[in-house]
């Protein structure tokens, strides 16, 4: 089952490439079909496991599979899914479909190869969400990176080569640092116990000196914070998001960023609980600065796509803040925020992409007065701009509110500053609407409104955001068990450990 989740897009990608010659329609439908089956599989799994894991069997996972791969080095193919991964895999399949739809008319050259890269990126991302073997995890981490690079470099906009190289360098440097960290914990654990393994469940609770732990964790964080992105490692993001084709931007903003957050949640904190505690105040501060910094920069942009890109920096600041606040409220908020940001940022990129396809520009100074010309585009854009500024009733509000509520227990000051993000996000969201949709239509734009295909995609995304905003309980319920588990791991590890910096721990609790 879990293997299929990864294999279907992989095979779909190869098929899409092969059927390229049969016409441009084929790769699109194949890719759509592959993501569709995957989504159906995840939904099936979700219906089977809405939340509770069978407690009598004492299992931590909804489903698990482990087969040896390179036994001599303790590498196995270990895949498992719990509530957290399930929701993120579901998001991946959903956004995979959306990205395919977004590329339907935009991509006209080498369509087969495009969809090959698209599906392989998503397959890599799903792999990242499912892997429990650090080596395998690293493998998937790289797998998603390379096709993404090609998506930007081959189908991107004007400045694509600069953006793609920048993207590759940033993530690759981070990734290599993580590889060092993985090897580090592999040897530390091996030397202590004599068992050399990359298996997550074995490596949990590895004892090491605080300095080693800090060093190793920072090397993991190097990869994750670049992906998230956290300040000051965000510089690749605006360029990559802006230059990528629409489908690529949807995947980048909607999914790739989430792998960073997932990495911190699943690996960086549970593997190094003490060190995580040590840096928590700093990480939270970085998160808060990111919220405000990203929002202010978003406001200053005149390139609509760049504007949306900077809003991601701001929203992922909430995720970082919530993860390091590390309590039930904040972590649930993080999950909701990840899902909602994935959908709302994805939707905004699709809308901006559709505008660019029609206007041939992304410059807000040349837009204006588009509301009467394309009311459906306008309505959808307004909706997701409002989601982005955290209007209650939409999922993003639930995420941000829970994160801040959880943070309040840890640091009142940071919460108050972060609440300022509500104000600055209003500025950029409303300004974006004002510049693009309202005012006089000075350039005399006449463009076709959203097509039925796009309307369908937007409707699905609007409904998802409203669902998450008005009745998020099924999602909270599903994530609950997984979050309990990792919190338990960290609690135990911290209890076992005698060496613990007393001051920070008091502050965090």
């Amino acid at each position: 089952m879990l293997v299929w989740l990864i294999l279907i897009p992989l095979v779909g990608g190869v098929l899409a490439w092969l059927f390229d010659r049969a016409g441009n329609r084929w790769p699109r439908w194949i890719s759509l079909f592959a993501f569709g089956i995957d989504l159906a599989l995840v939904l099936l799994l979700w219906v089977e496991h809405p939340g509770e894991v069978d407690l009598t069997a004492n299992r931590a996972w909804f489903a698990e599979i482990q087969v040896p791969w390179i036994s001599s080095m303790g590498i196995t193919i270990h895949l498992a899914i719990d509530g957290i991964s399930l929701l993120l895999v579901m998001l991946s399949c959903f956004l995979g479909i959306m990205a395919t739809i977004a590329s339907w008319t935009e991509i006209r050259e080498r369509v087969g190869l495009f969809h090959f890269n698209l599906t392989w990126t998503v397959a890599g991302i799903i792999g990242v969400f499912l892997s429990l073997d650090l080596f395998l995890f690293y493998f998937f981490w790289e797998l998603m990176l390379i096709p993404m690079y090609f998506l930007i470099a081959l189908w991107g906009h004007e400045n694509r080569s600069y953006a793609s190289v920048k993207f590759f360098l940033f993530t690759q440097v981070g990734g290599l640092a993580m590889l060092l960290g993985i090897l580090g914990i592999y040897f530390v654990h091996g030397r202590q116990t004599g068992i050399y393994t990359f298996d997550y469940s074995e490596l949990l609770g590895t004892r090491m000196s605080p300095n080693t732990a800090l060093l190793l964790m920072l090397s993991f964080l190097a990869a994750f914070l670049v992906k998230l992105p956290a300040l000051p490692f965000h510089a690749w993001l605006p360029d990559a998001h802006t230059e990528a084709p629409t489908g690529g931007s949807v995947i980048l903003a909607g999914l790739l960023l989430k792998t960073g957050a997932y990495g911190i949640l699943r690996f960086a904190v549970p593997l190094f609980p003490g060190a995580a505690l040590q840096i928590a105040p700093w990480a939270m501060m970085v998160g808060v600065i990111g919220i405000l910094y990203g929002a202010v920069l978003a406001f200053a942009q005149t390139d609509l796509k760049r504007l949306v890109a900077y809003t991601s920096v701001s929203h992922m600041g909430f995720v970082l803040l919530g993860i390091f606040a590390w309590n039930e409220l904040a972590l649930q908020g993080v999950i909701i925020q990840m899902l909602c940001h994935g959908i709302s940022a994805g939707a905004l990129f699709m809308l901006v992409g559709s505008l660019q396809e029609r206007l041939r520009t992304r410059d807000t100074r040349r837009m204006g007065g588009l509301w009467p010309v394309a009311p459906r585009t306008g309505g959808a854009m307004l909706f997701f701009a409002l989601a982005s500024l955290g209007l209650p009733g939409m999922g993003n509000f639930v995420g941000e509110f829970l994160v801040l509520l959880g943070t309040y227990r840890v640091s009142i000051l940071l919460t108050v500053i972060a609440a300022g993000g509500f104000i600055v996000s209003t500025v950029y969201a409303l300004w974006m609407i004002q510049r693009a949709l309202y005012g006089p239509n000075e350039e005399g734009w006449r463009i076709p409104d959203l097509s039925m295909r796009e309307v369908g995609a937007m409707t699905a995304m609007v409904l998802a955001i409203l669902w998450l905003g008005l009745y998020p309980r099924p999602f909270i319920h599903t994530a609950g068990h997984g979050l309990d588990q990792i919190q338990k791991i960290v609690r135990q590890a911290r209890a076992d450990r005698t060496i613990m910096p007393p001051i920070e721990s008091a502050r965090v609790r």
Partner: protein
């Protein structure tokens, strides 16, 4: 019937959904009925619910739980409604006034573009406002709170072609959002210390756990007050309201006069226990109310634009409500909210007829003589202005304002200064109210009038005029019938004000309001009909012109905020548009490129150079070895 409570907000939500999805394709008459009927039905349900609740329901409250919204640990806010005297009064005002204003809009908006968009937003507004007043927990209240803010934004910027309207809309949303952020932090604080956001539970627990005047009670109520100040346009977050008049006039009537701007009043009344536990904050409420009512009253005196004058008047009247809340006169504040909703909606709608008839002319100095042209509207406006000025006995505004001033004087928290501020405000009110009347309807006609109100506009005017007179009779002071229907009913939800032993001075207090309001009326007549030269000469003196400009601009708050906050922010954002952090990476990349180019220069391919370089290298090496 009570179980139909959920229908009251659900109907306008449904109206919004239908209009939002199908709006553009429907004819105007279908759109109009889809826009008006849901709110009308909602008002009907509200009346039925009200009847059952008042006469046939044995308890003082009724709660309806729809579903649990979020459930994380102990954090379990619900989608649930709570009905008591306070929320019932709010519901009735919102649905009934909302229905009348929507009916008026059918005719008023007929020639405007975006007909269905207008009705969609208005339905969403009514639904959000109902959510706000019916919510049984602060998070759901917050949802309604932000929802009305959104609709206010959308409707102020309704005519989006003019960027000025868009700016006014953004300003309104942004300024209120500053208050909302404060309120959100208040919610965090309340939940973390009391473990719930259910309003009734909060009040019970706070009463037990928090001492009077304790830091946490002060912090919690001050943070909530921040939200209330933004929404209700009170000092120092009042600057958005005059600009909000950029929206269509029915919007100004419904959102920026009758309902949304009083949400802050509702919030404070709803969470009154928290404010009672924080006497300094309550004092601040009273003082802010008093100051706002005075400065807004003075600003209203100088406006040219009839809608801006009404906006400042609204600010000033909401100031009265804050004053009442601040002295603990909860039901007096709500009473004034009810009467104000009637007469201010009436004034706006009448002004709408005038403005539309004069081809979008807002300047009162270009109006005049309309008394004979549109007598019906004239009388409606007279009734509204009289009620606003609290002319004695025959107007609703008299009974509510009189009650506030009495209690500002006689309650424990009240004092002579607050009373005096309210009294001066009464004088200002009747001067500016009748200034509007005289400028608009008397004198010579200056602009040709060409569009008359149609029947859908006349009916609401008539009903609101009637309400502006009779709504006051449900609560009359001792010696004037001593009717206490309203306060008796409110006391099932809000604590009564302990009355102090009345001294001899209360006689003065009692006759002060009627006398002062009549003096104001005469003063307006004197200054704007008999002796207009006086005013002109006064504004031509240096001091007079300065004051005039200062009051006209709303006491320079816009100027101050623009320089202190807006411009520095925009400049900072512009300055960092390129993202300074990114420049660092570019610099790193640049250094790599330059050094790579520099090193590439050494690859000349000439053997002589390589040989020379090797020789120099060897010499340096030997030198290091020998000298080291």
């Amino acid at each position: 019937m009570l179980e139909l409570l959920w229908l009251i907000p659900a109907l306008p939500y449904a109206g919004f959904a239908v209009l939002a999805v199908a709006g553009g394709r429907l004819s105007r008459s279908v759109t109009a009925s889809l826009g008006v009927i849901p709110v009308g039905l909602s008002a009907a349900v509200a009346l039925l619910v009200g009847i059952e609740f008042i006469w046939f329901w044995p308890e003082n409250t009724y709660a309806q739980l729809l579903w649990t919204w979020i459930a994380v640990g102990r954090f379990t806010p619900t989608i649930g409604f709570y009905l008591d005297a306070l929320s019932l009064v709010m519901i009735l005002v919102v649905t009934v006034i909302g229905f009348l204003i929507l009916l008026y809009s059918v005719g008023f908006m007929m020639r405007s573009e975006g007909y269905s968009r207008f009705f969609a937003y208005m339905n969403l507004f009514v639904a959000s406002m109902l959510t706000l007043v019916m919510a049984d927990n602060l998070l759901l209240l917050y949802l309604g709170w932000e929802g009305v803010g959104l609709c206010s934004y959308l409707l102020i910027g309704f005519w989006y072609n003019d960027p000025a309207n868009g700016r006014a809309a953004i300003k309104a949303f942004l300024v209120t959002r500053v208050g909302d952020a404060s309120m959100a932090v208040g919610l965090f604080l309340i939940f973390v210390s009391l473990g719930t956001l259910q309003i009734q539970e909060i009040m019970q627990k706070a009463e037990i756990q928090w001492a009077i005047g304790s830091g946490i009670a002060i912090a919690a109520s001050a943070l909530l007050l921040g939200g209330a100040l933004g929404k209700s346009a009170q000092l120092p977050l009042q600057t958005w309201l005059p600009d909000a008049m950029a929206g269509p006039t029915p919007v100004s009537a419904l959102i920026h006069a009758a309902t949304m701007v009083t949400a802050g009043v509702y919030l404070i009344a709803r969470t009154h226990v928290l404010f009672t536990l924080a006497p300094p904050v309550l004092t601040a409420v009273a003082v802010i109310g008093a100051i706002t009512l005075l400065i807004a009253g003075l600003s209203a005196l100088t406006q040219h634009d009839i809608k801006r004058a009404l906006a400042y008047s609204t600010m000033s009247q909401v100031g009265y409500m804050f004053l009442a809340l601040g002295v603990g006169a909860w039901s007096a504040a709500i009473f004034h909210f009810v009467t104000h909703a009637c007469f201010k909606a009436l004034l706006f709608l009448a002004a709408g007829v005038v403005i539309q008839g004069l081809n979008e002319e807002h300047n009162m100095f270009k109006m005049g003589g309309l008394r004979r042209v549109i007598p019906g509207t004239f009388w409606a406006f007279i009734v509204g202005a009289a009620s606003l000025s609290a002319l004695p006995l025959v107007t609703a505004g008299f009974y509510s304002k009189d009650l506030i001033l009495m209690e500002a004087w006689s309650s424990q928290a009240g004092n002579g200064w607050l009373w005096l501020a309210g009294l001066i405000g009464t004088l200002l009110t009747s001067v500016y109210a009748f200034r509007m009347v005289f400028l608009t309807f008397f004198g010579e006609a200056k602009t040709e009038f060409h569009k008359r109100a149609d029947i859908t506009m006349k009916i609401p005017l008539a009903i609101l005029a009637l309400l502006s007179i009779v709504a006051g009779f449900i609560e009359t002071p001792q010696g004037l019938g001593n009717m206490t229907l309203f306060s008796d009913f409110m006391e099932t939800a809000l604590p009564a004000l302990p009355t102090l032993p009345t001294g001899s001075l209360t006689v003065i207090a009692k006759i002060a309001v009627p006398i002062i309001s009549l003096i104001g009326l005469y003063l307006a007549y004197l200054l704007f009909v008999r002796r207009p030269g006086w005013v002109r000469r006064a504004t031509e003196t240096p001091v007079g012109s300065l004051l005039h400009a200062y009051w006209l601009s709303g006491w320079g708050f816009d100027w101050l905020y623009s320089r202190l906050i807006v411009r520095p922010f925009v400049r900072m954002a512009d300055w960092n548009r390129q993202d300074a952090i990114d420049l660092v990476y570019d610099a790193v990349a640049g250094i790599c490129m330059v050094s790579s180019d520099a090193l590439a220069l050494t690859q000349t391919g000439k053997i002589r150079w390589y040989a020379a370089a090797i020789t120099v290298g060897v010499l340096i090496f030997i030198a290091i070895v020998v000298l080291g």
